[in-house]
């Protein structure tokens, strides 16, 4: 890897000035490298971090089985990485105009890394430097412990998607307030009760307000007294919850939990495993925001490379070359989801919406199509609005908030389905739905979404992992391998509860045709208990 030439670096510095003038904010220095195909091949399995620790899986083709595991994205890397200073990679024969376009795109990403709040835990240190010391640590351990280091890496990587990313962000953001009884009552207690309805909930709020009005100053106290008399169990549940929320008692971060609580790992001769696990955990936490902001990040970078390139006076005459490349990057595919295209259009769209004052209650209330189209109160502030979005949003929020019918219609978006045509023996792609809510859900389903879990230890010192049901099963093929790793790290039996779908029984002998007309989708969810003991997996249904 060589540094970029001085000539190109000078162009880059010019781009930085122009990007700053446009409102982007990022640190002064940056590193640019020329990479060859060979470098690229080495960097890919290391997620573009040149200093990442070595691991044998990086030398092997990891099976992706195209299309099958979209839910397991494996490419969280960019042309630029979120280090201090940021490092970006270039082909050595790019013409200047193309480099300008790429520089602007890169600056968009750097601005995003350094301002989006989901990255805030990466702001205080240089990951490349940390990775280098981690790499040395692992190399040193490997010289002492041999292949066992790789087993620990393997088992830790097996659960590195269960790291309690949001808990960590929460710890960082605001100083933790102790949960009051009122918080507990309204946020947890009554919502967790069986047959609780909204009406009841609102009723309780009204009751609380009544107490506040009747007994100014001590309404809260009296309300809680009232709660205690009505629910005898309230106080003990509150204490329990408080304990559970204490720091170091995290029940969602499996890696951390094992490090804290596993008797096996805390034996003197196994202490070194903590260091390895910690490396895996911090690496995973570092990558978490990238994968949760793919559409935003690419959309933001594309928005800015397009705008800034066209305003750049240094490269006029290359508009057509630019248009060709830009179209390739940002055109919406006939079938498929291009995060560059979708993200960029959304940014343009909400900027316009905000400029016209359409992101408002007044606009929402209008049903008349004509008036909606003509609506423009000249509110302005579109730029400010999108800067705000780039600071505070992640993909899931971006999609849920801004993809509406107007956007879907404007860009002629639809959900594309695929069905089997038996006569022609072909898969047919067809327009399945043009409704915004379907489109939104389709995009949301394509987003990274690791399973949520809750961890407990039962009386036999077995680790109990409860997979929180969200309408999706776990990938069964992977359960065995993962649980074997957890058992090793925990040093005792491991139990996993999850739900699995079961098709509603078909009539035997029923023809294929009839089955299809009925359509799939009829599923019964069964609760399943997996037990891993002595590296043997056992699966039973529970009721």
């Amino acid at each position: 890897m060589e540094l970029l030439s001085q000539h190109a670096k000078k162009i880059m510095e010019g781009c930085k000035e122009r990007a700053r003038d446009a409102g982007l904010r990022f640190q002064d220095d940056s590193l640019e490298y020329i990479v060859t195909n060979r470098d690229f091949l080495r960097l890919t399995p290391k997620n573009m971090i040149p200093t990442l620790y070595d691991y044998w899986v990086q030398d092997v083709e990891v099976m992706k089985e195209a299309g099958q595991y979209e839910l397991y994205p494996t490419n969280p890397y960019e042309t630029v990485i979120n280090t201090r200073p940021p490092i970006s990679y270039y082909n050595d024969n790019n013409p200047d105009w193309l480099n300008v376009m790429i520089f602007y795109h890169v600056l968009g990403h750097i601005d995003f890394f350094q301002n989006n709040l989901y990255f805030r835990h990466t702001w205080d240190y240089d990951f490349a430097g940390k990775a280098l010391s981690d790499k040395r640590l692992i190399a040193k351990l490997r010289s002492e412990k041999g292949r066992w280091v790789d087993y620990i890496i393997e088992f830790s990587r097996g659960i590195d998607n269960l790291v309690g990313y949001f808990d960590m962000l929460m710890d960082l953001s605001v100083e933790q307030k102790k949960m009051t009884r009122i918080d507990f009552y309204f946020d947890v207690f009554i919502q967790g009760k069986k047959n609780s309805s909204i009406v009841d909930y609102v009723g309780e709020i009204e009751k609380y307000n009544q107490f506040e009005r009747d007994f100014p100053g001590e309404g809260e106290l009296r309300f809680i007294d009232d709660v205690r008399t009505r629910h005898a169990e309230f106080e003990s549940l509150y204490e329990k919850e408080l304990k559970a929320r204490e720091k170091g008692n995290n029940r969602r971060d499996l890696l951390q939990f094992l490090m804290d609580k596993s008797e096996f790992l805390n034996q003197e001769e196994n202490k070194w495993m903590h260091s390895v696990m910690e490396v895996i955990r911090t690496t995973s936490l570092y990558f978490q925001p990238q994968i949760r902001t793919k559409i935003l990040n690419e959309g933001w970078a594309s928005y800015w490379h397009e705008n800034l390139f066209l305003q750049d006076d240094r490269i006029s005459g290359h508009e057509i070359d630019f248009a060709v490349v830009n179209a390739k990057v940002t055109s919406l595919p006939r079938v498929g989801l291009n995060p560059y295209a979708l993200g960029m259009r959304l940014f343009y769209y909400i900027e316009e919406q905000a400029d016209k004052g359409k992101i408002s209650y007044d606009y929402q209330r209008i049903a008349d199509q004509y008036r909606r189209r003509k609506f423009d109160v000249g509110a302005g502030g579109g730029k400010e609005f999108i800067f705000n979005v780039r600071e505070n949003f992640c993909d899931a929020m971006f999609i849920a908030n801004f993809i509406d019918q107007e956007f879907v219609d404007k860009h002629k978006l639809f959900v594309a389905g695929k069905r089997l045509n038996k006569k022609r023996m072909t898969w047919q792609y067809y327009v399945k739905s043009k409704k915004a809510r379907h489109y939104r859900k389709m995009v949301a389903d394509a987003l990274y979404h690791p399973p949520a879990i809750k961890i407990d230890v039962d009386e036999n010192n077995s680790l109990v992992i409860n997979h929180i049901f969200e309408g999706k099963p776990l990938l069964r093929d992977y359960i065995r391998g993962t649980m074997m790793g957890i058992e090793f790290l925990w040093g005792n039996k491991v139990i996993l509860f999850t739900e699995e779908p079961e098709p509603v029984k078909k009539q035997p002998g029923q023809s294929q045709q009839a089955q299809q007309e009925k359509g799939p989708g009829e599923v019964k969810w069964k609760r399943v208990k997996y037990t891993m003991k002595d590296r043997k997996l056992n699966r039973v249904l529970v009721d």
Partner: protein, 464 residues
């Protein structure tokens, strides 16, 4: 073409006049319809692809940096090293993790090159789709399931189509094609060795029929370190690099200066003249594949994959002294010249197993192969047969069993019918040959979502 259709229709009419159950008739109709619509044309078709959201990335989009397919990166001893490591895993009490995957790549000139791609998976707890039906077939229930799309078209409009499973195992496996492959080029012999050693496929039993060697030849085949007749440059270079890695003169990530490399006298590897037994061909293997219309997709993929594994295993067992013959059949059978064609012909037409068996018998007869050779026949099919009772196939099979060392029938179910109820399976079982000639005839029934591991197990079943 029209001639072909007429013949198919005649055959159908003929069969019907002899009586068919409605289910049988339906199956035959299905293939017939397809044949009439698309022609009985076995050809290749390309497949389009849809790119999911996280597979887009900057380097490719902006700078045309597609991951290069570099063999160079593969470390000096990669495959053996990985397999060694995998063996150690087993000793440590963990299941193996390396899969020797997707190894089908016959080269164009017909010699038996096989690409071994060591692959692995990183297992995690991840969400899966709800999959009840095969590959999202139908799937109309939920209007928000599917891909994104843009452009003109009303709800319900068809905007494009692709053939069902266009990949007929041409490059050896579905889903290949993106990502950097770290291929290890090897030949079928090596693959056979790996299968035998790593996956513990049985060694072939000596049936006492092996032909004795006829003569010795002298050839520069043995390797010797230190001295010899001809310097083996590739092996020597490998040794030198290994030595220098050990001396830390070659280090990861650093530029290698060839002038700095040290060379130990032992690093020189020579070829020396040695006495070799010259065998005559000892085995003739017939690979028979059903390429009728119903074989589309998975069944074909499974059958060809399994056949390549068997082929490699036999090559290892017979030290390259294997003659192979390839036969394809729909309603009629034909012999094709090499693996390449055997692999890449696409499916169409109807099914008559008997035609293929008959052809094998004829070839063996005409060339008097049975006298001097061990003969193996491996037949892959989805189990559909227009000759529903095996009236023609069973006699041919019986005849075959008089001279072969082994007949292995693989039935890869296509999922259209009821499992375990395919025509071929039924009539072979009914014939009683499986018990009567257990040492000669084996059958393995696999479903369409069979994995590699199961395939290898199946081979064990077929050949042991």
């Amino acid at each position: 073409m029209n001639d072909m259709k007429t013949r198919l229709r005649q055959l159908f009419a003929d069969l019907r006049s002899r009586g068919l159950t409605p289910l049988q008739e339906k199956k035959i109709r299905f293939e017939l319809d397809m044949a009439e619509r698309n022609g009985v044309d076995h050809r290749q078709t390309p497949a389009p692809s849809v790119c999911p959201i996280y597979r887009y990335h900057d380097l490719e989009m902006l700078q045309d940096f597609s991951p290069a397919n570099l063999t160079a990166l593969t470390t000096v001893q990669s495959l053996d090293y990985l397999l060694e490591r995998d063996k150690q895993r087993e000793k440590d009490g963990f299941p193996r993790k390396i899969r020797v995957g997707r190894m089908v790549k016959p080269s164009k000139n017909g010699d038996d090159k096989v690409i071994i791609v060591p692959t692995t998976v990183e297992e995690k707890l991840v969400h899966d789709k709800i999959r009840l039906d095969e590959e999202g077939e139908g799937g109309d229930g939920d209007p928000s399931s599917g891909d994104g799309g843009t452009g003109e078209g009303e709800e319900g409009d068809v905007i494009g189509e692709e053939p069902v499973r266009p990949d007929q195992g041409g490059v050896g496996g579905a889903g290949q094609g993106e990502g950097a492959e770290h291929d290890v080029e090897s030949n079928a012999y090596d693959l056979g060795r790996i299968l035998t050693e790593q996956f513990e496929l049985p060694n072939l039993k000596d049936k006492g029929k092996k032909r004795s060697l006829t003569r010795y030849t002298y050839d520069l085949t043995d390797k010797h370190r230190g001295f010899g007749q001809v310097l083996d440059k590739k092996s020597t270079l490998k040794r030198i690099i290994q030595t220098n890695i050990a001396l830390k003169r070659v280090q990861y990530g650093k530029e290698v200066n060839a002038n700095d490399l040290l060379m130990s006298p032992d690093d020189r590897v020579y070829r020396i003249l040695s006495k070799e037994k010259d065998y005559e061909s000892q085995a003739v293997v017939f690979f028979v594949r059903d390429y009728s219309g119903s074989m589309g997709g998975k069944p074909t993929e499974l059958v060809v994959n399994q056949h390549v594994l068997i082929y490699s295993w036999l090559i290892f067992q017979y030290k390259n002294q294997v003659e192979t013959r390839f036969i394809l059949h729909d309603t009629e059978a034909k012999e094709v010249e090499n693996f390449q064609v055997y692999y890449n012909s696409t499916v169409a037409g109807g099914t008559q197993v008997a035609s293929a068996y008959k052809l094998v018998n004829e070839i063996v007869d005409e060339e008097s192969l049975a006298r001097d050779n061990n003969i193996y026949v491996f037949h892959g099919t989805d189990g559909d047969d227009w000759d529903t009772k095996g009236e023609k196939a069973v006699p041919q099979l019986k005849k075959m069993l008089t001279y072969v060392s082994r007949v292995g029938i693989t039935i890869a179910e296509n999922g259209y019918g009821i499992s375990g109820q395919t025509e071929v399976e039924k009539y072979v079982r009914k014939s009683g040959l499986l018990e009567e000639k257990r040492d000669l005839l084996r059958m393995d029934v696999i479903t369409k979502d069979t994995e590699e591991e199961r395939l290898i197990k199946g081979i064990r079943e077929l050949i042991s």
